[in-house]
Symmetry: C2
Subunit: 206 residues, 2 copies
Amino acid sequence: MAHAATDPTPARPSAEKRDAILAAALRLIARLGLHNTPMSAVAREAGVAVGTVYLYFPSKEAMINALYLEVLADRNRVLMADYPVAEPAQFTQLTQRAKMWAMWEALARWHLDHEDASNLIVQCRATGILSEETRATEQAQDADGQVMFQDAIAQGLLRDLTRHVFWALFVGPILTLVQLRDTGEIEVTEDVLRATFDGVCRSVLP
Amino acid sequence: MAHAATDPTPARPSAEKRDAILAAALRLIARLGLHNTPMSAVAREAGVAVGTVYLYFPSKEAMINALYLEVLADRNRVLMADYPVAEPAQFTQLTQRAKMWAMWEALARWHLDHEDASNLIVQCRATGILSEETRATEQAQDADGQVMFQDAIAQGLLRDLTRHVFWALFVGPILTLVQLRDTGEIEVTEDVLRATFDGVCRSVLP
DNA sequence: TCGCTCTGAATGAACGATCATTCAGGCGCG
DNA sequence: CGCGCCTGAATGATCGTTCATTCAGAGCGA
């Protein structure tokens, strides 16, 4: 075999199989619901035996919690990606709006492009399947975002809002748009996105 | 109005028992999740036998769909209650804002005060348990709201937004606030409500 | 290089628990 | 008595989880 020491899959049980299981669970839960998504179906969809799933996760609940955290980590990665690490200099109000558009659109696109993942987040949060540990991990992951937000407030780039009020005004409209799209009531075009973002800017920019 | 003729439930047995069953289901589903809320638990919580539940609803799925529609009807009643039927005369921008506050706050308070009902709406929508018929009924109920909205646009009382964009900007923040409250991350005080509403006004008022 | 041992990932039939749903019978009232 | 609401043990299906078994391949002595 050519791949030996530098092989990027060092884990004893293949990480690739773990991903297949999580991907299968994500698809099925989003399509069939958290209720009536049996482990047998997840295994079949992933192309493994039922027992194999239990080599990677101790229980169904643990599997779903792990899936939730992975999905959320992916979303956070997208949300943070466009955040400029080094602040160059002074920004006009116009470029501030442009920076926010980059972040807001990235977040909106993630939710629109990852329909299954977006749905899973909602289901997990609403059905109370998340463990205390998962909730704690999630809050820890949000720490970076809070710093970013406080910076923006301090620089006067945002209106002086509570962190939570800002978040509600910032993402609330996105989640509602996604929900309307998922029920087939609306097609979220570029125009819809821009019009909504315009409203968001009015509510959170000075 | 007499008893609903469009309701598929046999109205012979006491409507009071039917309500007890729905109330029990609402409590349990919100606390335990749509998954693991067995019919036996619903019956016990309602103080009736399992078989009795099946006298009022043909199946668990039908029961949940009926519950969903009833919860949604209650919310719509609150939302429409403050809508002035007869338009007196000219309104200044200030009174327009006051009118909108009445509606927005009523909606927000409903979601905050009816934690179980609010949660049920989210669960039902996300898990795909709603039948096509239920979805159709829901859209029919929203017809009045659409008329109200078109009126406001025509009178220039709102910015010229799509119905869906307006809705996203109007309720999106409420739902996010409620979700933050339900996970224990925030206490929604009067100040939080007012600050959020202020943002909403900036986004949808001219 | 070959043959043998040993490891542990993978399997899927089997198991007990629990689910939604049914129905034969009890019970109260006219 | 008869009618009809109500009951809850019974039923069959299905769930999450287990574990005896399989088998590909790593290690090693000769």
